[in-house]
């Protein structure tokens, strides 16, 4: 399953780590983490959006928020979204509101794709059965 994701480049090795952490004591660990991720990133993205509307020049703040968001993305292994975060921060450093805006739109698109893929992943996991999800040998 992760190979599929890997091919598309949305999720990386880190996601595999999460799968490996999932075990009988925590049979839904990956999904729990994903849920946390949705919640936290929704919050951060909203704040970033708000700042871009009100203070598009406040690059320090934007950079700060984006750093946080990037951290979450890397924790869950969201490779493509993370790349967009890096790009965004570059534009912050360069002080380019335009660049930030464009990148942010791209980021949102990638993020929404990621969510869909994760949903598909979990659906598949549920169909196959909990044990099958953690297939990698330790």
């Amino acid at each position: 399953m992760t190979e599929t994701k890997g091919c598309k480049g949305y999720l990386d090795e880190q996601f595999v780590q999460l799968e490996e952490l999932q075990d009988d004591t925590n049979p839904n660990f990956v999904e729990e983490v994903a849920t946390l991720f949705y919640r936290d990133s929704a919050r951060l993205l909203a704040v970033i959006e708000q700042t871009m509307v009100r203070n598009p020049q406040d690059f320090t703040k934007l950079d700060n928020y984006m750093h946080q968001f990037k951290g979450s993305c890397s924790s869950i292994g969201a490779k493509k979204v993370k790349a967009e975060c890096t790009q965004f921060r570059e534009y912050c450093k360069a002080g380019s509101s335009d660049g930030c805006m464009r990148t942010f739109q791209q980021l949102k698109r990638e993020y929404s794709t990621l969510k869909k893929q994760l949903e598909a992943y979990f659906q598949l996991a549920r169909q196959v059965g909990p044990r099958e999800s953690a297939t990698r040998p330790r």
């Binding site: 880190q14 780590q17 999460l18 490996e20 952490l21 925590n26 660990f29 729990e32 983490v33 946390l36 991720f37 936290d40 700060n64 750093h67 946080q68 990037k70 951290g71 979450s72 890397s74 924790s75 869950i76 292994g77």
Partner: protein, 526 residues
Amino acid sequence: MCGICSLDEMNFGRRVVGSMSLPDSSVVARNDPGDVVSDHFPAGLRVLVVDDDPICLTILDKMLRTCHYDVTKCNRAEVALSLLRENKNGYDIVISDVHMPDMDGFKLLEHIGLEMDLPVIMMSADDSKNVVMKGVTHGACDYLIKPVRIEALKNVWQHVVRKKKNEWKELEQLGNMEDGDRQQKQDDLEYSSPANEGSWKNSKRKGEDEEGEERDDATTLKKPRVVWSVELHQQFVAAVNQLGIDKAVPKKILELMNVPGLTRENVASHLQKYRLYLRRVSGVSQHQGGLNNSFIGPQDASFGALPSLSGIDLQTLAAAGQLPAQTLATYQAAGLGRAAMKPGITLPFVDQGTLFSFEAPKSVFGEGRQQQQQRNSNVKHMNLLHGIPATLEPKQPSIMQQSSAQPLGSLNNMQGNTHGNGQSSSLLMQMVQPQTRGQMLNESIGGQISRIQSSVGQPSPRNRMAGNEQVMACNLASQAAPVVDFSVNHMADLPGNVYPLGSTTTPGGVTTSHQKDLYTRRLAQM
């Protein structure tokens, strides 16, 4: 008994080294008394992980549990600090994120280094060289780039062991200078877990709580770690101030401090931390308030506050947080409307710490109780005798020589310029804290010193030397007892506290009876 006592501190994490049971289970306070360490280590390593990112925190927590560590997670640095302060021996290692909203990770790192001296690992998604360098300079023992892999976490125990091993080495040096046989037992148990430094701190703190000045000899020597107590740190700061911060090298500081058992390495590492601290503090004054607040903020015993100095609010708390006397001087100076942060002004305050602190570091390093109190008593007499008027002078030299036979490093230096009554009384005033009391004291001391002068003058016609000394000593004791007491941390009311020689009515009865011993000894020597 020594062997068992030393095993006390062998408790590493939750496990017990070897198969000997611990006599003092209160120190252990851990859950599996029967476990033997080697098989399970590093399982049970007590990790505190701090990160404001809930996803990362959850993942780290899970990873660390998978490594069989005992994990506490925390999403705010302030909370982490208070957890650490409340339970100083409750954690073996801290893992912290760099970017956190309420406190910079590096600041947390410094706090931990100064207050608890636990190994700290920094984490960040930021892998730029200067951030990693910052981690190194602030004393992080490792720096992990996010996303953190479980393999990286599996090995964090090495930092704990490494740190303890370094402390062991220091202890070995200490042992060579002090009791050899007690040290050997520790050498045998070298690998595992030296230091439950918590137990040392606990017994030390307990000693302070009970007596305010005495230390428990039995548990002092074997400690592998040097805990920079308030007094020790103040001595350190005094030495540094005297040398000048630029010229303060560990070797010279060590000499000035003159604390047996303290090694150059101890001083060097502490100096490094102190320098970092100073750099931060000396920069922006507006931040200073914030910084110091975070030191002084939690005003309770968990700070490691020493009740022995408890009469002195701010100074105690500041000192308890191991705040350098400079910053302390800043507060006091600000309160008194004087210029702050000048070494010249700092010194007197440091004096107090130094004078007060003689008992502490000496006992911490296992010096005999008698000897240390004798030294203190000598010191006190030296102070007083400096102020004795001319009529006594012929009698002075013999006593003075004996006093000076045991010079006390920095104290001597500080005293260098105290001659004459006026200055002596100001020195004595400095011996007492806080300033307001000192002012009160000034009047009463002035009164008492003049009384000393007049009363001491009386016996001089007598020819018997011993008799003279004895009478003089009596008078000194009776009139000076309250003054002398101050240097032993007693905030007793001064006026009217006149204790006849040998009485035990002083608040800390110990002092007077030892004074008596001292007198007797001195007289015998004449």
